[in-house]
Symmetry: C2
Subunit: 321 residues, 2 copies
Protein backbone atom coordinates (compact mmCIF):
# COMPACT_ATOMS: atom_id res chain seq x y z
CA UNK A 1 0.00 0.00 0.00
CA UNK A 2 0.92 3.66 -0.36
CA UNK A 3 0.95 5.70 2.86
CA UNK A 4 0.02 9.38 2.87
CA UNK A 5 0.70 11.58 5.90
CA UNK A 6 -1.42 14.71 6.50
CA UNK A 7 -0.50 16.25 9.84
CA UNK A 8 -2.84 19.22 9.33
CA UNK A 9 -6.00 17.57 7.96
CA UNK A 10 -9.02 19.79 7.28
CA UNK A 11 -12.70 19.64 6.67
CA UNK A 12 -12.84 21.29 3.24
CA UNK A 13 -15.97 23.39 2.83
CA UNK A 14 -16.83 24.89 -0.56
CA UNK A 15 -19.33 27.77 -0.71
CA UNK A 16 -20.82 28.95 -3.96
CA UNK A 17 -21.99 32.59 -3.99
CA UNK A 18 -23.42 34.54 -6.96
CA UNK A 19 -20.66 37.18 -6.62
CA UNK A 20 -18.22 37.82 -3.78
CA UNK A 21 -18.22 41.46 -2.67
CA UNK A 22 -16.07 42.38 0.35
CA UNK A 23 -18.02 43.87 3.29
CA UNK A 24 -21.39 42.73 1.89
CA UNK A 25 -23.69 39.97 3.11
CA UNK A 26 -24.01 36.88 0.88
CA UNK A 27 -26.47 34.03 0.65
CA UNK A 28 -24.49 30.85 0.03
CA UNK A 29 -26.32 28.93 -2.72
CA UNK A 30 -24.41 25.64 -2.38
CA UNK A 31 -22.37 24.02 0.39
CA UNK A 32 -20.08 21.03 -0.30
CA UNK A 33 -18.01 19.32 2.42
CA UNK A 34 -15.06 17.03 1.68
CA UNK A 35 -12.34 15.31 3.69
CA UNK A 36 -9.40 17.68 3.17
CA UNK A 37 -5.71 18.19 3.57
CA UNK A 38 -3.27 17.40 0.77
CA UNK A 39 -2.52 13.79 1.76
CA UNK A 40 -6.23 12.91 1.84
CA UNK A 41 -6.70 14.32 -1.67
CA UNK A 42 -3.63 12.38 -2.85
CA UNK A 43 -5.07 9.16 -1.37
CA UNK A 44 -8.42 9.63 -3.09
CA UNK A 45 -6.73 10.09 -6.49
CA UNK A 46 -4.44 7.09 -5.83
CA UNK A 47 -7.46 4.94 -4.94
CA UNK A 48 -9.18 6.00 -8.17
CA UNK A 49 -6.02 4.87 -10.01
CA UNK A 50 -6.33 1.43 -8.38
CA UNK A 51 -3.80 1.77 -5.55
CA UNK A 52 -4.55 0.69 -1.98
CA UNK A 53 -3.76 3.59 0.33
CA UNK A 54 -3.58 4.28 4.05
CA UNK A 55 -4.02 7.81 5.37
CA UNK A 56 -2.53 8.96 8.65
CA UNK A 57 -2.16 12.26 10.50
CA UNK A 58 -4.33 13.85 13.20
CA UNK A 59 -8.08 14.24 13.50
CA UNK A 60 -10.28 15.58 16.33
CA UNK A 61 -13.45 17.35 17.44
CA UNK A 62 -16.77 17.56 15.63
CA UNK A 63 -15.14 18.61 12.35
CA UNK A 64 -12.85 15.59 12.70
CA UNK A 65 -15.87 13.32 13.14
CA UNK A 66 -17.48 14.72 9.98
CA UNK A 67 -14.17 14.36 8.11
CA UNK A 68 -13.92 10.66 9.04
CA UNK A 69 -17.55 10.01 8.07
CA UNK A 70 -16.98 11.63 4.66
CA UNK A 71 -13.73 9.75 4.18
CA UNK A 72 -15.47 6.44 4.94
CA UNK A 73 -18.17 7.30 2.41
CA UNK A 74 -15.58 8.09 -0.29
CA UNK A 75 -13.63 4.94 0.54
CA UNK A 76 -16.79 2.87 0.13
CA UNK A 77 -18.06 4.47 -3.08
CA UNK A 78 -15.94 7.05 -4.85
CA UNK A 79 -18.31 9.28 -6.82
CA UNK A 80 -16.16 9.83 -9.87
CA UNK A 81 -14.74 6.46 -10.82
CA UNK A 82 -17.62 4.47 -12.31
CA UNK A 83 -16.14 1.40 -13.97
CA UNK A 84 -12.58 2.44 -13.14
CA UNK A 85 -10.08 0.39 -11.13
CA UNK A 86 -10.46 1.21 -7.46
CA UNK A 87 -8.08 0.79 -4.56
CA UNK A 88 -8.98 0.91 -0.89
CA UNK A 89 -8.57 3.93 1.43
CA UNK A 90 -7.83 2.91 5.03
CA UNK A 91 -8.28 5.48 7.80
CA UNK A 92 -5.29 5.32 10.18
CA UNK A 93 -5.75 8.89 11.47
CA UNK A 94 -4.75 9.45 15.10
CA UNK A 95 -7.45 11.01 17.34
CA UNK A 96 -6.52 14.19 19.22
CA UNK A 97 -8.24 16.33 21.85
CA UNK A 98 -8.10 19.43 19.60
CA UNK A 99 -10.53 20.15 16.78
CA UNK A 100 -9.65 19.59 13.12
CA UNK A 101 -9.59 22.88 11.22
CA UNK A 102 -11.97 23.92 8.46
CA UNK A 103 -10.81 25.37 5.17
CA UNK A 104 -13.44 27.40 3.33
CA UNK A 105 -13.26 27.99 -0.41
CA UNK A 106 -15.67 30.67 -1.59
CA UNK A 107 -16.38 30.22 -5.29
CA UNK A 108 -17.56 33.37 -7.08
CA UNK A 109 -20.08 32.05 -9.62
CA UNK A 110 -19.59 35.15 -11.80
CA UNK A 111 -15.82 34.86 -12.27
CA UNK A 112 -15.27 31.21 -11.25
CA UNK A 113 -12.46 32.36 -8.94
CA UNK A 114 -12.02 30.96 -5.44
CA UNK A 115 -11.23 32.90 -2.26
CA UNK A 116 -9.71 30.65 0.37
CA UNK A 117 -10.05 31.00 4.18
CA UNK A 118 -7.92 28.52 6.13
CA UNK A 119 -8.36 28.08 9.87
CA UNK A 120 -5.22 27.40 11.89
CA UNK A 121 -4.83 23.76 12.92
CA UNK A 122 -5.31 22.33 16.41
CA UNK A 123 -2.53 22.03 18.97
CA UNK A 124 -1.00 18.53 19.05
CA UNK A 125 0.17 17.36 22.47
CA UNK A 126 3.30 15.31 23.14
CA UNK A 127 1.39 12.06 23.94
CA UNK A 128 -0.62 12.50 20.71
CA UNK A 129 2.61 12.97 18.77
CA UNK A 130 4.06 9.83 20.36
CA UNK A 131 0.93 7.87 19.38
CA UNK A 132 1.32 9.13 15.81
CA UNK A 133 5.02 8.16 15.62
CA UNK A 134 4.28 4.66 16.96
CA UNK A 135 1.61 4.18 14.30
CA UNK A 136 3.83 5.68 11.58
CA UNK A 137 6.58 3.18 12.36
CA UNK A 138 4.12 0.28 12.13
CA UNK A 139 2.54 1.55 8.89
CA UNK A 140 5.96 1.97 7.21
CA UNK A 141 6.50 -1.79 7.45
CA UNK A 142 3.66 -2.35 4.95
CA UNK A 143 4.25 0.72 2.76
CA UNK A 144 5.69 0.71 -0.76
CA UNK A 145 6.02 4.51 -0.62
CA UNK A 146 5.08 7.39 1.67
CA UNK A 147 3.91 10.91 0.80
CA UNK A 148 4.42 13.66 3.40
CA UNK A 149 1.93 16.39 2.55
CA UNK A 150 1.07 19.94 3.50
CA UNK A 151 1.62 22.36 6.34
CA UNK A 152 2.46 21.50 9.95
CA UNK A 153 -0.13 22.20 12.66
CA UNK A 154 0.85 24.64 15.44
CA UNK A 155 3.26 23.16 17.98
CA UNK A 156 4.66 20.49 15.66
CA UNK A 157 8.44 21.10 15.32
CA UNK A 158 9.56 22.55 12.00
CA UNK A 159 12.04 19.70 11.52
CA UNK A 160 9.28 17.07 11.69
CA UNK A 161 9.34 16.10 8.02
CA UNK A 162 13.08 15.50 8.24
CA UNK A 163 12.43 13.10 11.13
CA UNK A 164 9.67 11.26 9.20
CA UNK A 165 11.95 10.98 6.14
CA UNK A 166 14.78 9.49 8.23
CA UNK A 167 12.35 6.92 9.71
CA UNK A 168 11.22 5.97 6.21
CA UNK A 169 14.86 5.63 5.05
CA UNK A 170 15.49 3.30 7.99
CA UNK A 171 12.47 1.22 6.92
CA UNK A 172 13.60 1.24 3.27
CA UNK A 173 10.49 3.13 2.07
CA UNK A 174 10.83 5.83 -0.63
CA UNK A 175 9.52 9.28 0.34
CA UNK A 176 7.78 12.11 -1.50
CA UNK A 177 7.72 15.50 0.26
CA UNK A 178 5.14 18.14 -0.71
CA UNK A 179 5.33 21.14 1.59
CA UNK A 180 6.74 24.67 1.59
CA UNK A 181 8.87 27.13 3.53
CA UNK A 182 11.06 26.03 6.39
CA UNK A 183 9.53 22.50 6.68
CA UNK A 184 10.51 21.99 3.00
CA UNK A 185 14.02 23.35 3.55
CA UNK A 186 14.58 21.11 6.59
CA UNK A 187 12.92 18.12 4.94
CA UNK A 188 15.12 18.32 1.83
CA UNK A 189 18.24 18.12 3.98
CA UNK A 190 17.08 14.64 5.10
CA UNK A 191 17.38 13.45 1.45
CA UNK A 192 13.82 12.54 0.39
CA UNK A 193 13.50 10.55 -2.84
CA UNK A 194 11.34 13.23 -4.43
CA UNK A 195 10.09 16.73 -3.68
CA UNK A 196 7.22 18.40 -5.59
CA UNK A 197 7.42 22.16 -5.09
CA UNK A 198 5.74 24.67 -7.37
CA UNK A 199 7.82 27.39 -9.00
CA UNK A 200 7.19 29.86 -6.14
CA UNK A 201 8.16 27.36 -3.46
CA UNK A 202 11.27 26.43 -5.42
CA UNK A 203 12.22 30.10 -5.77
CA UNK A 204 11.63 30.63 -2.04
CA UNK A 205 13.90 27.68 -1.27
CA UNK A 206 16.75 28.45 -3.63
CA UNK A 207 16.49 32.16 -4.45
CA UNK A 208 16.36 31.37 -8.19
CA UNK A 209 13.33 32.12 -10.37
CA UNK A 210 14.65 29.86 -13.16
CA UNK A 211 12.93 26.53 -12.40
CA UNK A 212 15.64 24.34 -14.01
CA UNK A 213 18.43 26.10 -12.12
CA UNK A 214 16.37 26.07 -8.89
CA UNK A 215 15.53 22.35 -9.23
CA UNK A 216 19.21 21.51 -9.74
CA UNK A 217 20.00 23.58 -6.65
CA UNK A 218 17.32 21.68 -4.66
CA UNK A 219 19.01 18.40 -5.65
CA UNK A 220 22.35 19.71 -4.39
CA UNK A 221 20.60 20.55 -1.09
CA UNK A 222 19.55 16.91 -0.66
CA UNK A 223 16.47 16.01 -2.76
CA UNK A 224 17.28 12.94 -4.87
CA UNK A 225 14.75 14.10 -7.48
CA UNK A 226 12.71 17.25 -7.98
CA UNK A 227 9.38 17.44 -9.83
CA UNK A 228 8.38 21.09 -10.02
CA UNK A 229 4.89 22.10 -11.07
CA UNK A 230 4.90 25.08 -13.44
CA UNK A 231 1.14 25.76 -13.38
CA UNK A 232 -0.50 25.74 -16.81
CA UNK A 233 2.90 25.08 -18.44
CA UNK A 234 3.14 21.58 -16.96
CA UNK A 235 5.99 20.11 -14.93
CA UNK A 236 9.76 19.86 -14.84
CA UNK A 237 11.62 16.87 -13.39
CA UNK A 238 15.31 16.88 -12.49
CA UNK A 239 16.60 13.45 -11.42
CA UNK A 240 19.85 11.48 -11.21
CA UNK A 241 19.02 9.99 -14.61
CA UNK A 242 18.14 13.12 -16.52
CA UNK A 243 15.84 16.13 -16.70
CA UNK A 244 12.49 16.36 -18.51
CA UNK A 245 9.78 18.88 -19.08
CA UNK A 246 6.16 17.80 -19.73
CA UNK A 247 3.53 20.19 -21.09
CA UNK A 248 -0.23 19.65 -21.48
CA UNK A 249 -1.57 20.04 -25.04
CA UNK A 250 -3.73 23.04 -24.05
CA UNK A 251 -4.50 25.32 -21.16
CA UNK A 252 -7.56 24.14 -19.20
CA UNK A 253 -9.78 26.54 -17.26
CA UNK A 254 -11.21 25.43 -13.92
CA UNK A 255 -10.41 25.08 -10.26
CA UNK A 256 -6.65 24.72 -9.61
CA UNK A 257 -7.23 23.56 -6.00
CA UNK A 258 -6.14 19.93 -5.81
CA UNK A 259 -4.19 19.98 -9.08
CA UNK A 260 -0.91 19.68 -7.16
CA UNK A 261 -2.31 16.79 -5.09
CA UNK A 262 -3.36 14.95 -8.27
CA UNK A 263 0.18 15.45 -9.62
CA UNK A 264 1.61 13.95 -6.41
CA UNK A 265 -0.66 10.92 -6.86
CA UNK A 266 0.57 10.58 -10.45
CA UNK A 267 4.23 10.73 -9.38
CA UNK A 268 3.72 8.27 -6.51
CA UNK A 269 1.80 5.74 -8.58
CA UNK A 270 4.52 6.00 -11.23
CA UNK A 271 7.18 5.45 -8.57
CA UNK A 272 5.64 2.26 -7.12
CA UNK A 273 4.81 0.94 -10.62
CA UNK A 274 8.43 1.71 -11.66
CA UNK A 275 7.26 3.66 -14.69
CA UNK A 276 10.08 5.47 -16.56
CA UNK A 277 10.45 9.15 -15.63
CA UNK A 278 9.06 10.66 -18.86
CA UNK A 279 5.85 8.58 -18.50
CA UNK A 280 5.66 9.35 -14.80
CA UNK A 281 5.81 13.06 -15.55
CA UNK A 282 3.21 12.75 -18.32
CA UNK A 283 0.87 10.97 -15.90
CA UNK A 284 1.33 13.72 -13.28
CA UNK A 285 0.63 16.47 -15.82
CA UNK A 286 -2.45 14.70 -17.19
CA UNK A 287 -3.86 14.08 -13.70
CA UNK A 288 -3.17 17.68 -12.75
CA UNK A 289 -5.06 18.94 -15.82
CA UNK A 290 -7.92 16.50 -15.15
CA UNK A 291 -8.13 17.74 -11.52
CA UNK A 292 -8.47 21.33 -12.74
CA UNK A 293 -11.58 20.17 -14.61
CA UNK A 294 -13.14 18.58 -11.48
CA UNK A 295 -15.11 20.82 -9.11
CA UNK A 296 -13.34 19.80 -5.87
CA UNK A 297 -9.89 18.74 -4.69
CA UNK A 298 -9.27 14.98 -4.56
CA UNK A 299 -11.23 14.27 -7.74
CA UNK A 300 -10.37 14.33 -11.43
CA UNK A 301 -12.16 14.06 -14.73
CA UNK A 302 -11.20 10.65 -16.12
CA UNK A 303 -12.06 11.51 -19.72
CA UNK A 304 -9.84 14.61 -19.59
CA UNK A 305 -7.11 12.53 -17.92
CA UNK A 306 -7.04 9.96 -20.72
CA UNK A 307 -7.31 12.55 -23.45
CA UNK A 308 -4.48 14.71 -22.04
CA UNK A 309 -2.29 11.67 -21.18
CA UNK A 310 -2.30 10.66 -24.83
CA UNK A 311 -1.17 14.12 -25.89
CA UNK A 312 1.28 15.38 -23.22
CA UNK A 313 4.52 16.45 -24.83
CA UNK A 314 7.65 15.39 -22.91
CA UNK A 315 11.03 16.83 -23.88
CA UNK A 316 14.40 15.95 -22.42
CA UNK A 317 16.70 18.70 -21.18
CA UNK A 318 20.36 18.44 -22.14
CA UNK A 319 22.58 17.32 -19.23
CA UNK A 320 23.65 20.07 -16.84
CA UNK A 321 26.81 21.89 -17.81
CA UNK B 1 -40.43 34.38 31.02
CA UNK B 2 -39.86 35.91 27.59
CA UNK B 3 -39.99 33.50 24.65
CA UNK B 4 -37.85 34.01 21.56
CA UNK B 5 -38.47 32.04 18.36
CA UNK B 6 -35.61 31.46 15.89
CA UNK B 7 -36.77 29.14 13.11
CA UNK B 8 -33.47 29.45 11.22
CA UNK B 9 -30.88 29.17 14.01
CA UNK B 10 -27.21 29.22 13.02
CA UNK B 11 -23.80 28.41 14.33
CA UNK B 12 -22.19 31.86 14.05
CA UNK B 13 -18.52 31.62 13.11
CA UNK B 14 -16.32 34.73 13.15
CA UNK B 15 -13.02 34.65 11.25
CA UNK B 16 -10.41 37.34 11.68
CA UNK B 17 -8.04 37.81 8.72
CA UNK B 18 -5.29 40.43 8.35
CA UNK B 19 -6.90 41.75 5.14
CA UNK B 20 -9.60 40.22 2.93
CA UNK B 21 -8.58 40.09 -0.72
CA UNK B 22 -10.99 38.37 -3.16
CA UNK B 23 -9.47 35.35 -4.99
CA UNK B 24 -6.49 35.14 -2.60
CA UNK B 25 -5.74 32.55 0.07
CA UNK B 26 -5.97 33.71 3.70
CA UNK B 27 -4.73 32.35 6.99
CA UNK B 28 -7.46 32.87 9.55
CA UNK B 29 -5.80 34.23 12.70
CA UNK B 30 -8.79 33.83 15.06
CA UNK B 31 -11.92 31.67 15.05
CA UNK B 32 -14.87 32.41 17.38
CA UNK B 33 -18.03 30.27 17.45
CA UNK B 34 -21.30 31.46 18.99
CA UNK B 35 -24.90 30.22 19.15
CA UNK B 36 -26.53 32.30 16.41
CA UNK B 37 -29.76 33.37 14.86
CA UNK B 38 -31.49 36.60 15.89
CA UNK B 39 -33.70 35.12 18.63
CA UNK B 40 -30.72 33.51 20.36
CA UNK B 41 -28.87 36.83 20.39
CA UNK B 42 -31.99 38.55 21.75
CA UNK B 43 -32.26 35.93 24.52
CA UNK B 44 -28.63 36.40 25.54
CA UNK B 45 -29.08 40.18 25.85
CA UNK B 46 -32.37 39.72 27.75
CA UNK B 47 -30.68 37.32 30.18
CA UNK B 48 -27.90 39.86 30.76
CA UNK B 49 -30.64 42.40 31.58
CA UNK B 50 -32.02 40.01 34.21
CA UNK B 51 -34.94 38.45 32.29
CA UNK B 52 -35.58 34.71 32.24
CA UNK B 53 -35.87 33.59 28.63
CA UNK B 54 -36.76 30.46 26.71
CA UNK B 55 -35.46 29.93 23.18
CA UNK B 56 -37.23 27.77 20.64
CA UNK B 57 -36.87 27.01 16.95
CA UNK B 58 -35.09 24.18 15.15
CA UNK B 59 -31.66 22.64 15.66
CA UNK B 60 -29.95 19.61 14.07
CA UNK B 61 -26.78 17.89 12.91
CA UNK B 62 -23.25 18.38 14.21
CA UNK B 63 -23.47 22.17 13.96
CA UNK B 64 -26.70 21.98 15.97
CA UNK B 65 -24.91 19.95 18.65
CA UNK B 66 -22.15 22.55 18.89
CA UNK B 67 -24.76 25.35 19.00
CA UNK B 68 -26.54 23.72 21.94
CA UNK B 69 -23.26 23.14 23.80
CA UNK B 70 -22.29 26.80 23.36
CA UNK B 71 -25.77 27.96 24.38
CA UNK B 72 -25.58 25.87 27.56
CA UNK B 73 -22.20 27.40 28.34
CA UNK B 74 -23.52 30.95 27.90
CA UNK B 75 -26.61 30.15 29.93
CA UNK B 76 -24.40 28.88 32.77
CA UNK B 77 -21.83 31.68 32.75
CA UNK B 78 -22.38 34.67 30.46
CA UNK B 79 -18.92 36.11 29.72
CA UNK B 80 -19.85 39.78 29.66
CA UNK B 81 -22.07 40.34 32.67
CA UNK B 82 -19.81 40.20 35.70
CA UNK B 83 -21.74 41.54 38.68
CA UNK B 84 -24.79 42.28 36.53
CA UNK B 85 -28.29 40.91 37.04
CA UNK B 86 -28.63 37.64 35.15
CA UNK B 87 -31.71 35.78 33.95
CA UNK B 88 -31.82 32.18 32.83
CA UNK B 89 -31.74 30.93 29.23
CA UNK B 90 -33.71 27.71 28.72
CA UNK B 91 -33.12 25.65 25.58
CA UNK B 92 -36.48 24.54 24.12
CA UNK B 93 -35.13 24.05 20.59
CA UNK B 94 -36.77 21.26 18.58
CA UNK B 95 -34.40 18.63 17.12
CA UNK B 96 -34.58 18.02 13.36
CA UNK B 97 -32.96 15.55 10.98
CA UNK B 98 -31.39 18.35 8.92
CA UNK B 99 -28.22 20.20 9.84
CA UNK B 100 -28.24 23.68 11.37
CA UNK B 101 -26.62 26.20 9.02
CA UNK B 102 -23.39 28.09 9.67
CA UNK B 103 -23.04 31.81 9.16
CA UNK B 104 -19.49 33.03 8.66
CA UNK B 105 -18.46 36.60 9.37
CA UNK B 106 -15.02 37.44 7.97
CA UNK B 107 -13.59 40.43 9.84
CA UNK B 108 -10.94 42.37 7.93
CA UNK B 109 -8.48 43.45 10.64
CA UNK B 110 -7.23 46.31 8.47
CA UNK B 111 -10.59 48.02 7.90
CA UNK B 112 -12.66 46.46 10.68
CA UNK B 113 -15.38 45.64 8.12
CA UNK B 114 -17.19 42.30 8.08
CA UNK B 115 -18.03 40.18 5.03
CA UNK B 116 -20.90 37.81 5.76
CA UNK B 117 -21.46 34.33 4.23
CA UNK B 118 -24.76 32.75 5.24
CA UNK B 119 -25.49 29.11 4.48
CA UNK B 120 -29.09 28.23 3.57
CA UNK B 121 -31.01 26.58 6.40
CA UNK B 122 -32.01 22.91 6.64
CA UNK B 123 -35.28 21.54 5.32
CA UNK B 124 -37.93 21.21 8.05
CA UNK B 125 -40.30 18.24 7.64
CA UNK B 126 -44.01 18.28 8.44
CA UNK B 127 -43.68 16.11 11.60
CA UNK B 128 -40.87 18.41 12.83
CA UNK B 129 -43.08 21.43 12.21
CA UNK B 130 -45.92 19.77 14.16
CA UNK B 131 -43.56 19.07 17.07
CA UNK B 132 -42.52 22.73 17.06
CA UNK B 133 -46.12 24.00 17.03
CA UNK B 134 -47.06 21.71 19.93
CA UNK B 135 -44.16 23.04 21.96
CA UNK B 136 -44.88 26.66 20.96
CA UNK B 137 -48.45 26.35 22.22
CA UNK B 138 -47.24 25.00 25.57
CA UNK B 139 -44.50 27.65 25.93
CA UNK B 140 -46.95 30.50 25.23
CA UNK B 141 -48.87 29.58 28.41
CA UNK B 142 -45.86 30.68 30.50
CA UNK B 143 -44.70 33.61 28.32
CA UNK B 144 -45.07 37.30 29.14
CA UNK B 145 -44.03 38.20 25.57
CA UNK B 146 -42.78 36.46 22.44
CA UNK B 147 -40.24 37.64 19.86
CA UNK B 148 -40.39 36.13 16.36
CA UNK B 149 -36.98 36.64 14.83
CA UNK B 150 -35.20 36.31 11.53
CA UNK B 151 -35.55 34.49 8.23
CA UNK B 152 -37.56 31.34 7.55
CA UNK B 153 -35.71 28.13 6.68
CA UNK B 154 -36.45 26.53 3.29
CA UNK B 155 -39.79 24.75 3.14
CA UNK B 156 -41.41 26.73 5.96
CA UNK B 157 -44.48 28.55 4.53
CA UNK B 158 -44.08 32.30 4.05
CA UNK B 159 -47.21 32.95 6.16
CA UNK B 160 -45.74 31.18 9.19
CA UNK B 161 -45.15 34.28 11.30
CA UNK B 162 -48.80 35.31 10.81
CA UNK B 163 -49.81 31.89 12.16
CA UNK B 164 -47.49 32.22 15.19
CA UNK B 165 -48.82 35.73 15.89
CA UNK B 166 -52.45 34.51 15.79
CA UNK B 167 -51.58 31.69 18.24
CA UNK B 168 -49.99 34.24 20.58
CA UNK B 169 -53.06 36.49 20.32
CA UNK B 170 -55.24 33.52 21.29
CA UNK B 171 -52.98 32.91 24.31
CA UNK B 172 -53.03 36.63 25.24
CA UNK B 173 -49.26 37.03 24.73
CA UNK B 174 -47.88 40.22 23.12
CA UNK B 175 -45.72 39.70 20.01
CA UNK B 176 -42.67 41.40 18.53
CA UNK B 177 -41.86 40.59 14.90
CA UNK B 178 -38.35 41.14 13.51
CA UNK B 179 -38.06 39.83 9.98
CA UNK B 180 -38.04 41.16 6.41
CA UNK B 181 -39.59 40.76 2.97
CA UNK B 182 -42.72 38.70 2.42
CA UNK B 183 -42.67 37.07 5.91
CA UNK B 184 -42.76 40.63 7.36
CA UNK B 185 -45.58 41.72 5.04
CA UNK B 186 -47.67 38.64 5.88
CA UNK B 187 -46.82 38.84 9.57
CA UNK B 188 -47.89 42.49 9.87
CA UNK B 189 -51.33 41.63 8.52
CA UNK B 190 -51.82 39.37 11.58
CA UNK B 191 -51.57 42.50 13.81
CA UNK B 192 -48.42 41.97 15.93
CA UNK B 193 -47.99 44.32 18.89
CA UNK B 194 -44.67 45.61 17.59
CA UNK B 195 -42.49 45.29 14.49
CA UNK B 196 -38.83 46.34 14.38
CA UNK B 197 -37.79 46.85 10.76
CA UNK B 198 -34.78 48.87 9.70
CA UNK B 199 -35.24 51.74 7.24
CA UNK B 200 -34.55 49.51 4.21
CA UNK B 201 -37.03 46.84 5.32
CA UNK B 202 -39.63 49.52 6.00
CA UNK B 203 -39.06 51.05 2.56
CA UNK B 204 -39.33 47.58 0.97
CA UNK B 205 -42.62 47.02 2.78
CA UNK B 206 -44.28 50.36 2.14
CA UNK B 207 -42.49 51.87 -0.85
CA UNK B 208 -41.68 55.01 1.14
CA UNK B 209 -38.12 56.06 2.00
CA UNK B 210 -39.36 58.55 4.63
CA UNK B 211 -39.21 56.45 7.83
CA UNK B 212 -41.99 58.38 9.64
CA UNK B 213 -44.36 58.09 6.69
CA UNK B 214 -43.40 54.42 6.17
CA UNK B 215 -43.88 53.57 9.86
CA UNK B 216 -47.33 55.15 9.84
CA UNK B 217 -48.13 53.13 6.72
CA UNK B 218 -46.93 49.93 8.47
CA UNK B 219 -49.35 50.67 11.32
CA UNK B 220 -52.21 51.02 8.82
CA UNK B 221 -51.21 47.60 7.43
CA UNK B 222 -51.71 46.02 10.84
CA UNK B 223 -48.71 46.59 13.16
CA UNK B 224 -49.98 48.09 16.43
CA UNK B 225 -46.61 49.79 16.94
CA UNK B 226 -43.51 50.23 14.79
CA UNK B 227 -39.97 50.73 16.12
CA UNK B 228 -37.73 51.41 13.15
CA UNK B 229 -33.95 51.31 13.49
CA UNK B 230 -32.25 54.15 11.62
CA UNK B 231 -28.67 52.92 11.95
CA UNK B 232 -26.30 55.41 13.57
CA UNK B 233 -29.16 57.96 13.82
CA UNK B 234 -31.02 55.90 16.41
CA UNK B 235 -34.62 54.74 16.32
CA UNK B 236 -38.11 55.95 15.53
CA UNK B 237 -41.25 54.64 17.25
CA UNK B 238 -44.76 55.14 15.97
CA UNK B 239 -47.44 53.86 18.37
CA UNK B 240 -51.11 54.37 19.23
CA UNK B 241 -50.00 56.80 21.95
CA UNK B 242 -47.59 58.95 20.01
CA UNK B 243 -44.41 58.98 17.94
CA UNK B 244 -40.84 59.47 19.23
CA UNK B 245 -37.36 59.58 17.85
CA UNK B 246 -34.34 58.61 19.98
CA UNK B 247 -30.77 59.44 18.96
CA UNK B 248 -27.49 58.32 20.56
CA UNK B 249 -25.19 61.13 21.77
CA UNK B 250 -22.46 60.17 19.31
CA UNK B 251 -21.72 57.81 16.47
CA UNK B 252 -19.91 54.66 17.68
CA UNK B 253 -17.58 52.68 15.42
CA UNK B 254 -17.59 48.89 15.68
CA UNK B 255 -19.41 45.77 14.55
CA UNK B 256 -23.08 46.47 13.67
CA UNK B 257 -23.93 42.72 13.64
CA UNK B 258 -26.25 42.10 16.58
CA UNK B 259 -27.12 45.77 17.13
CA UNK B 260 -30.67 45.13 15.89
CA UNK B 261 -31.00 42.09 18.17
CA UNK B 262 -29.88 44.15 21.18
CA UNK B 263 -32.51 46.77 20.25
CA UNK B 264 -35.17 44.02 20.14
CA UNK B 265 -34.10 42.91 23.64
CA UNK B 266 -34.39 46.53 24.84
CA UNK B 267 -37.89 46.90 23.37
CA UNK B 268 -39.08 43.55 24.77
CA UNK B 269 -37.71 44.14 28.25
CA UNK B 270 -39.36 47.59 28.21
CA UNK B 271 -42.64 46.00 27.12
CA UNK B 272 -42.79 43.40 29.90
CA UNK B 273 -41.57 45.94 32.49
CA UNK B 274 -44.28 48.38 31.22
CA UNK B 275 -41.70 51.14 30.78
CA UNK B 276 -43.10 54.27 29.05
CA UNK B 277 -42.35 54.42 25.30
CA UNK B 278 -39.71 57.20 25.40
CA UNK B 279 -37.68 55.23 27.98
CA UNK B 280 -38.22 51.99 26.09
CA UNK B 281 -36.83 53.58 22.95
CA UNK B 282 -33.88 55.09 24.84
CA UNK B 283 -33.06 51.64 26.24
CA UNK B 284 -33.19 50.08 22.76
CA UNK B 285 -30.91 52.77 21.31
CA UNK B 286 -28.42 52.48 24.18
CA UNK B 287 -28.30 48.66 23.93
CA UNK B 288 -27.87 48.90 20.18
CA UNK B 289 -24.93 51.30 20.57
CA UNK B 290 -23.43 49.08 23.29
CA UNK B 291 -23.76 46.03 21.01
CA UNK B 292 -21.84 47.83 18.25
CA UNK B 293 -18.97 48.14 20.75
CA UNK B 294 -18.98 44.38 21.54
CA UNK B 295 -17.03 42.06 19.24
CA UNK B 296 -19.84 39.52 18.61
CA UNK B 297 -23.62 39.45 18.26
CA UNK B 298 -25.56 38.68 21.45
CA UNK B 299 -23.21 40.68 23.67
CA UNK B 300 -22.98 44.34 24.63
CA UNK B 301 -20.60 46.63 26.46
CA UNK B 302 -22.30 47.41 29.78
CA UNK B 303 -20.26 50.56 30.41
CA UNK B 304 -21.18 51.97 27.00
CA UNK B 305 -24.82 50.95 27.62
CA UNK B 306 -25.05 52.90 30.86
CA UNK B 307 -23.17 55.89 29.51
CA UNK B 308 -25.30 56.13 26.34
CA UNK B 309 -28.57 55.43 28.23
CA UNK B 310 -27.95 58.52 30.38
CA UNK B 311 -27.47 60.67 27.31
CA UNK B 312 -29.90 59.43 24.64
CA UNK B 313 -31.99 62.31 23.36
CA UNK B 314 -35.68 61.46 22.85
CA UNK B 315 -37.92 63.90 20.99
CA UNK B 316 -41.64 63.57 20.41
CA UNK B 317 -43.05 63.93 16.90
CA UNK B 318 -46.16 66.03 16.49
CA UNK B 319 -49.31 63.95 15.95
CA UNK B 320 -49.93 62.83 12.38
CA UNK B 321 -51.85 65.28 10.24
Amino acid sequence: MILTVTLNTALDVTYRVPELRPHASHRVTEVIERPGGKGLNVARVLAALGHDTVVTGFVGGVTGTVLRQLLARFAAAPPDTAGAPHGTITDALVPIAGTTRRTIGVVDATTGDTTQLNEPGPIVTTPEWTAFMDGYGRLLREASAVALCGSLPPGVPVGTYAQLIREAHAAGVPTLLDTSGEPLRRGIAARPHLVKPNADELAGLTGSTDPLRAARDARRRGARAVAASLGAEGMLAVTAHGAWRAAPPRRLAGNPTGAGDAAVAGLLSGLVEEVPWPDRLARAVALSAAAVRAPVAGEFDRTVYEEVLARVEVTEHPAAA
